[in-house]
């Protein structure tokens, strides 16, 4: 197991390295080069030259790349044009919010998606199946930001059931704790804070959950249908095992294998989806910050976000592989 982990971790290096090269090339190719991103249009030629020197842009490309890589490895992603603060710092303070949102969305998607997909498969061709499949297709085909707006207009604006924006009601903020408000609230025993945070998470979480929910329903359904046809399920039935045992130990456990992979990949894309959702709900996370960055062409922030997402994707993949190997002995053996 340890060797497996080490090997998989080592395999990350070329992917991330290659990605850093792509990103470096991307930055080079930005209109006007990287200094454009950092200087206004009417900066003097001298200012540009000075910046090029200070950024080392007159060095050979390889040297520049190594400097770029060194900065990344040292956790220096540059300074946000929007706020003038280091990008890493900006991400660090906003990450807990996005993390809570993403986890909420994923938990919603899993909690609803897997049972729904399973039931749809069991009752294949029935009303529930039709609704689940139709609903998930509809979910995939609805632009997330539109769904977010609709949820907000209906549940926050018209019905007033949920708050329409932010992470917490005014006055409940605490800057001295970890930033994971739900956890902080639970730890300090401030249940009103926890409740308030959960209410704020509900609508953006639901909007963000729509795509993963749809995917999980469909994956689970397809996977369960496939497993139900498997010989070992028939064997289990032939052994006269209780339905509970057959479904849990033999059907679900096997059917979950591809779903686990999907959940991993979806988790990565949730952070990107947060860009759309958070901006609609003024949710103060990485997503709304990056939304601002796309509006203002804040390249250091975009670069940093791409690196963050890619790194997360790669590590989530690693986690998926690990959990896969825990779930599937065949993979472990290889």
């Amino acid at each position: 197991m340890l060797r497996f982990l080490v090997r998989r971790t080592l395999q990350l290096i070329p992917t991330l390295g290659g990605l850093s090269i792509l990103l470096f090339i991307w930055l080079q190719r930005l209109p006007g080069g990287p200094e454009y991103a950092l200087l206004p249009d009417d900066a003097t030629a001298e200012q540009r030259a000075q910046l090029r020197r200070s950024l080392g842009l007159d060095e050979p490309l390889t040297v520049q790349y190594l400097a770029f890589l060194r900065n990344i490895l040292q956790g220096d992603l540059g300074t946000s044009i929007q706020t003038g603060r280091p990008v890493v710092e900006e991400f660090f303070t906003r990450f807990p919010a996005t993390f809570e949102l993403a986890i909420t969305a994923m938990l919603m998607a899993i909690a609803v998606g897997i049972p729904l997909g399973y039931l749809a498969a069991r009752r294949r061709g029935g009303v529930l199946d039709f609704a689940a499949v139709g609903g998930s297709l509809l979910g995939i085909c609805t632009p997330v930001f539109f769904l977010a707006f609709i949820l907000k207009v209906i549940f926050a604006e018209r019905l007033g059931l949920f708050p329409s924006a932010f992470r917490l009601s005014p006055g409940l903020n605490r800057t001295d704790l970890s930033g994971f408000v739900v956890l902080d609230g639970l730890r300090t025993g401030e249940l009103d804070v926890v409740w308030d945070a959960l209410m704020h998470l509900a609508l953006p979480g639901l909007a963000l959950a729509s795509i993963p929910l749809a995917v999980i329903v469909r994956m689970t359904r397809a996977s369960v249908l496939e497993v139900l046809e498997e010989d070992y399920v028939r064997t289990a039935d032939a052994k006269g095992l209780h339905r509970r045992t057959v479904r849990g130990r033999h059907v679900l456990r096997n059917a979950m294998l591809p779903v686990v992979t999907a959940i991993g990949l979806l988790t990565g894309s949730l952070f990107a989806g947060a860009v759309l959702t958070e901006s609609v709900f003024a949710f103060p996370g990485v997503g709304s910050f990056v939304y601002g960055a796309t509006q203002t062409r804040d390249y250091p922030v975009l670069t940093g976000f791409i690196l963050l997402i890619a790194t997360m994707y790669v590590f989530i993949n690693l986690l998926v592989d690990i959990s896969y190997s825990l779930l599937d002995p065949r993979v472990r053996a290889q």
């Binding site: 064997t235 032939a238 006269g240 045992t245 779930l327 599937d328």
Partner: protein, 354 residues
């Protein structure tokens, strides 16, 4: 052996798929046979002839919807006779694994890949014999030992992919015999195995039947297996029995052209003068509906217009043990041969490569 009432009596079993909208398919159509203690009954035919459907119907493993099962299958239990086809799903669940057991064709796909072998054995002990913990594990190890798996304690912890094909089938058999079932159904248990292993498995099954007095329904397309193992044989074609007889009369005097064809398809080492094999042409799909005539007619070299005028009836020969369903029975087929009865797949070697 020797009991007058059969352990399981299957009467006019029929299984119809589809209906409502799509065309009905009669997968099994009026099949009757009996199973007796300590005896092996064979169900022979090409794939698609309905033999697997028959076994699934008896086990109650057919999908709940889109299938109609008719006829009866009376199982003689100490507490009384039950009709397997009419029992509630819940009661069937109780019987399966304990009184009825089944061994499937592909041992790899029939074992859950992500659950250790031991767990897959103990779960049935747990279910039907209420055994738990170390007692169940001990019993499981004994079972593996009994079906010929060496070092059972280690194997219990392993996963199916870590076992060889033969061992997997042995493990499946261990699960099947775990509760000493009265009736055991083996659906092509050796097809997916190497020839040498096939023989060992057949030997094992034979021993189990003899020792436990279990009734075994052997489903196969391999006449070699039938010849070596079965006491009674039913040849199925397109869902109907076309010939029924004890082993000896059947091999000695096959009557239905299909049976003759099956026997003729077996290569023989002692075939004289480079005599060609005589395979049955076409495939199971090339048939006509039984109610229009003999389903085998399109592939039959002997068919006549009479064959195409309504369903042929089952004809019983004078001895009462041999029956066939044919208008133009083959009188003197010389395709069967002693050689078949002594084919290498019957007499196995004890050695198994693990």
């Amino acid at each position: 052996m020797g009991s007058s009432t059969p352990l399981l009596a299957v009467e006019e079993l029929s299984v119809v798929f589809g209906g409502r909208g799509s065309d009905e398919v009669r997968a099994v159509d009026g099949v009757s046979f009996t199973l007796e203690e300590g005896k092996v009954t064979g169900l022979v035919g090409e794939s698609g002839c309905g033999k697997s459907v028959t076994s699934l119907a008896l086990m109650g493993l057919l999908p709940p919807r889109g299938v109609r099962v008719g006829g009866s299958a009376l199982l003689n239990l100490p507490e009384g006779e039950v009709d397997l086809l009419k029992l509630s799903p819940k009661r069937m669940r109780d019987l399966r694994g304990s009184r009825l057991a089944m061994i499937f064709q592909d041992p790899l796909s029939s074992l859950n890949p992500v659950v250790p072998i031991g767990r897959q054995v103990t779960e049935i002990l747990n279910r039907h014999r209420g055994m738990r913990g170390s007692a169940a594990e001990k019993e499981a190890a004994d079972l593996l030992q009994r079906v010929g798996i060496p070092d059972p304690e280690r194997r219990l912890k392993e996963y199916p992919h870590q076992l060889s094909g033969g061992m997997r089938q042995r493990a499946l058999i261990a699960m099947a015999v775990a509760c000493r079932p009265r009736v055991m159904i083996a659906d092509e248990p050796t097809t997916a195995l190497d020839v040498t292993i096939q023989a060992q498995i057949l030997e094992l099954l034979k021993d189990l039947v003899t020792e436990e007095g279990t009734a075994l329904l052997m489903i196969t397309h391999d006449l070699g297996v039938v010849a070596g193992l079965c006491d009674d044989i039913n040849v199925l074609y397109a869902g109907r029995a076309v010939e029924t007889a004890p082993r000896a009369p059947l091999f000695a005097g096959p009557t239905h052209p299909y049976t003759v064809g099956l026997l003729g398809s077996i290569p023989r080492l002692d075939a004289p003068r480079g005599e060609p094999l005589t395979p049955i042409r076409g495939s199971v799909n090339d048939n006509i509906a039984w109610h229009d005539g003999c389903a085998f007619a399109p592939r039959c070299d002997h068919y006549t217009l009479e064959c195409l005028e309504g369903p042929p009836a089952l004809v019983h020969t004078d001895d009462g043990v041999h029956a066939y369903r044919c208008v133009n029975p083959v009188r003197h087929a010389d395709v069967a041969d002693r050689a078949v009865l002594e084919s290498p797949s019957v007499v196995g070697d004890e050695e198994e490569s693990a």
